[in-house]
């Protein structure tokens, strides 16, 4: 009989809990795993600086998953902020609208560099986008025909590169980083080698031609990594000839194990990315639900705290971690735009 009593008590308790679930006194954030470390630093400092507010909850899971949660509707059971390592897509804005999230405020927090790194032991690598394209594209134009990529060694691609087998660990397709990789390296390299024009001659459909430029070979030479950078690091530790794609901050934290490759002769650093010299970088964002401002305690203060120079400025903890700060004017604009309540 005690069992029955226990279960009855548990049921009553759970119903009572359900009744108390209406209000929320904590900011809820979800989204990109690239933005996660930065959001964590800000959330933690926010909780310490404002003892009257609780630290925000930051979920990871990827830009797309975060925006999907964000677009579920308005109300305390939905999240307040979506972190994203890419701009929101128009399809996502429409999905948001359909669910009643009509006012979205976009906040750009800074930039992130995408770097190539190898094991410490191998020779220096200096890429140009064309090398990456020729090494990793699914098909190359040879003698006026599209053929499967025949290159096996980096030295086949460019005699100046080391004579080692090509083995690239690149972000999988669910990562926002993959898009930047395709756009800034493969598409550029495709254009630089002149392959883009030749592909256009072979494939008349424009979209298909653009796709052919950024298609990555699937013969095992390029490996998609669907996990995080720690997985890429483990792959490089296992295959010393491997080349991995990392975020700048991850590389900087593991610079004693990794050697970074230059792209177009530029070494990726916070400075070279801030100046726009290093070609492979992208802005990082978060999106705020305007309807929740003033409803969820601490939301407005969190965003303002995040945008302050003490967090995203040149000499801030985020910059220390590896975020490339936006120029002064851009940071100022982000603050005024948010204060003015500018929506998408």
């Amino acid at each position: 009989m005690t069992l029955l009593k226990l279960s009855a008590a548990a049921l009553v308790a759970s119903v009572a809990f359900a009744g108390a679930a209406a209000a929320r006194d904590q900011v809820q954030i979800a989204g990109s795993s690239t933005v996660l470390p930065y959001a964590k630093i800000v959330a933690e400092s926010f909780g310490e600086t404002f003892p009257n507010f609780k630290s925000p909850i930051v979920e990871s899971g990827g830009s797309s998953a975060g925006l999907k949660e964000f677009c579920k509707g308005v109300g305390p059971e939905t999240i307040d902020i979506a972190n994203a390592s890419r701009p929101i897509k128009s399809s996502e804005v429409e999905a948001c609208k359909a669910a009643g999230v009509t006012e979205i405020q976009e906040v750009r927090i800074g930039y992130d560099g995408i770097v190539f790194a190898t094991d410490k032991g191998i020779a220096d690598i200096n890429f140009v986008p064309a090398d990456v394209y020729k090494a990793l594209a699914a098909q190359l134009v040879i003698d006026g025909k599209l053929v499967a990529n025949p290159n096996k060694k980096w030295s086949d691609v460019n005699p100046k590169l080391p004579n080692i087998d090509i083995a690239a660990y690149i972000p999988g397709e669910k990562h926002g980083t993959r898009e930047v990789f395709e756009e800034k390296l493969l598409a550029h390299g495709c254009k630089d080698t002149g392959a883009a024009d030749e592909i256009k001659k072979l494939i008349t459909d424009e979209k298909a031609a653009a796709k052919a430029c950024v298609a990555v070979r699937k013969d095992g030479v390029a490996v998609d990594i669907d996990g995080d950078y720690t997985e890429t690091l483990a792959r490089i530790a296992a295959n010393k000839n491997g080349v991995g794609v990392f975020g700048l901050s991850f590389y900087e934290n593991n610079a004693d194990k990794l050697k970074v490759a230059t792209v177009s002769g530029v070494v990726p650093t916070v400075e070279s990315i801030a100046k726009g010299e290093y070609p492979v970088s992208r802005p990082l964002f978060f999106y705020v639900k305007k309807a929740h401002l003033g409803v969820i305690p601490g939301l407005k203060e969190y965003v303002e705290f995040f945008l302050g120079d003490a967090m995203v400025g040149p000499d801030s903890p985020l910059a220390e971690y590896g975020l490339v700060p936006a120029p002064d004017a851009e940071r100022e604009k982000a603050r005024t735009d948010f204060a003015a309540g500018k929506t998408l």
């Binding site: 279960s7 548990a10 809990f17 964590k40 933690e44 609780k54 909850i57 899971g61 059971e77 004693d256």
Partner: protein
């Protein structure tokens, strides 16, 4: 016998001819099978040892944390320059406390206060958590202002990693997170005994943090505890009631067969499916808060139920029918038979099944991903309705961190989880030993 021997004396001297029954072949087969068995076991043991070795060798240092003892002077000029704390206590909250610790350490190391680059390096040896630590000291006891008090501050994650030997010091200085000058300071402080390792209680009591030195599994432990409590309070009574009904009362027909097939099926459903269900039912429909351990507990209850039902039914089935017959024969009702005789005898089996189900639920992350529990949670939850994480989730989150100091903490958290699982499984064995009846 004598007749036979006298009839054929030849047989007496030679051994009796044995029928060829393949005894050698059969012994050989048995030996081979034993060998296979030993090989199979050693294969498993080797991998278990490899796992334990890799976790423990990487993780044991996580239970130690490097601390620096510095005599911090709580200068009034830094904390409350206008002397307004009597009227405006917020001054004490917002003061620039890290400077106090930095200056104290710089003085200890003999660094010139005008050398800004050196001061920055000194500052980066102390955890940023020092702000809250010193603030709490001052807020709790404002009379400390103006005095010099020795304070044990956490060393920054990279200092901790370097002191424990986790950073490769053979690479050029620019490629590591710690400079040669800082290494010199570490040695200098360690020689004076002001920098030392002590047991890392923070690993157990702190919440999540972006700073490895201040990060702990405290919030995750509480979240896991709440969830286990909810699973136990819901899954055990519901599971036992369902199995008693199915086993003892329900008629055997197509419907109950269908239910049985479905329960067995549910036990094998990937756990992420329960997460999807939890998101749809508990969060979107019932409106329970995201990231709350209540929702996590409910989802894990659904996941554990089939395991408990299957174990309970097996335990009930194993009670000999003679017990039931005897009870019924003495005039007990069916209800009395079950609750007075069958259930107590089946209890060890039921509890073992429950503990195994709980241990399974304790190690689960996939269903928690969708209900928002794979998250950074710094504040402690007071009720199951407040956001929290779970122990395996914390391991997953730390495994993805970039900082070197999180590598050992990941393994440290795995050791903690393994210890909990070990304790639960030992509990199951003890319960079985103590209460098991033999007929």
């Amino acid at each position: 016998m004598t007749d036979i021997t006298s009839a054929d004396p030849m047989v007496l001297t030679a051994a009796p001819p044995r029928r060829e029954i393949g005894i050698k072949r059969r012994y050989a087969a048995e030996r081979r099978f034993r060998l296979y068995g030993i090989l199979a076991i050693s294969f498993g043991v080797i991998f278990l040892l490899l796992l334990l070795w890799s976790v423990v060798s990487k993780g044991y240092t996580a239970f130690l944390q490097t601390e620096i003892t510095v005599p911090v002077t709580f200068t009034e000029k830094v904390i409350d320059p206008q002397n307004t704390r009597a009227t405006n206590p917020a001054v004490l909250m917002a003061a620039n406390y890290p400077v106090l610790a930095r200056d104290a350490l710089a003085k200890e190391l003999g660094v010139d206060p005008a050398d800004r680059a050196a001061l920055k390096e000194v500052n980066s040896m102390i955890s940023a958590s020092v702000r809250v630590q010193l603030r709490d000291i001052v807020v709790n006891d404002p009379s400390v202002i103006g005095k010099t008090v020795p304070v044990k501050v956490l060393a920054e994650g990279n200092v901790d990693a370097a002191y424990k030997g986790h950073i490769d010091l053979s690479v050029p200085e620019s490629d590591r997170k710690i400079s040669d000058r800082q290494l010199g300071w570490i040695q200098q402080l360690a020689a004076k005994g002001e920098l030392a390792s002590r047991f890392n209680t923070g690993l157990f009591v702190n919440g999540a943090s972006s700073r490895p030195e201040a990060a702990g599994v405290g919030v995750a432990l509480i979240g896991s505890f709440f969830m286990m409590l909810i699973v136990l309070a819901l899954a055990l009574p519901i599971g036992v009631a369902a199995s008693i009904y199915l086993e003892e009362f329900a008629p055997k027909n197509r419907l109950t067969d269908l239910i049985e097939v479905n329960i067995n099926n549910l036990a094998a459903v990937p756990s992420i499916v329960y997460g999807l269900l939890g998101l749809a039912v508990f969060i979107n429909f019932a409106g329970l808060p995201r990231s709350a351990s209540l929702v996590g507990g409910l989802v894990l209850t659904l996941m554990t139920l089939p395991t408990i039902i299957i174990a309970t039914r097996a335990a009930l089935k194993a009670v000999p029918p003679s017990i039931r017959a005897a009870a019924l024969g003495l005039g007990a009702s069916k209800m009395q038979t079950i609750f007075h005789h069958v259930l107590p005898l089946a209890m060890p089996g039921i509890l073992t099944g429950t503990i195994i189900g709980l241990a399974h639920a304790l190690g689960e992350t996939a269903p928690l991903l969708l209900i928002g529990m794979v998250a950074f949670v710094a504040d402690f939850p007071a009720t199951p309705l407040q956001p929290s994480t779970a122990l395996p989730v914390q391991i997953y989150m730390w495994a993805n961190e970039a900082e070197r100091a999180f590598v050992e903490r990941t393994s440290g958290a795995i050791i903690i989880l393994l210890l909990f699982l070990l304790a639960m499984n030992i509990g199951a064995v003890i319960l079985r030993r103590r209460f098991e009846r033999r007929w």
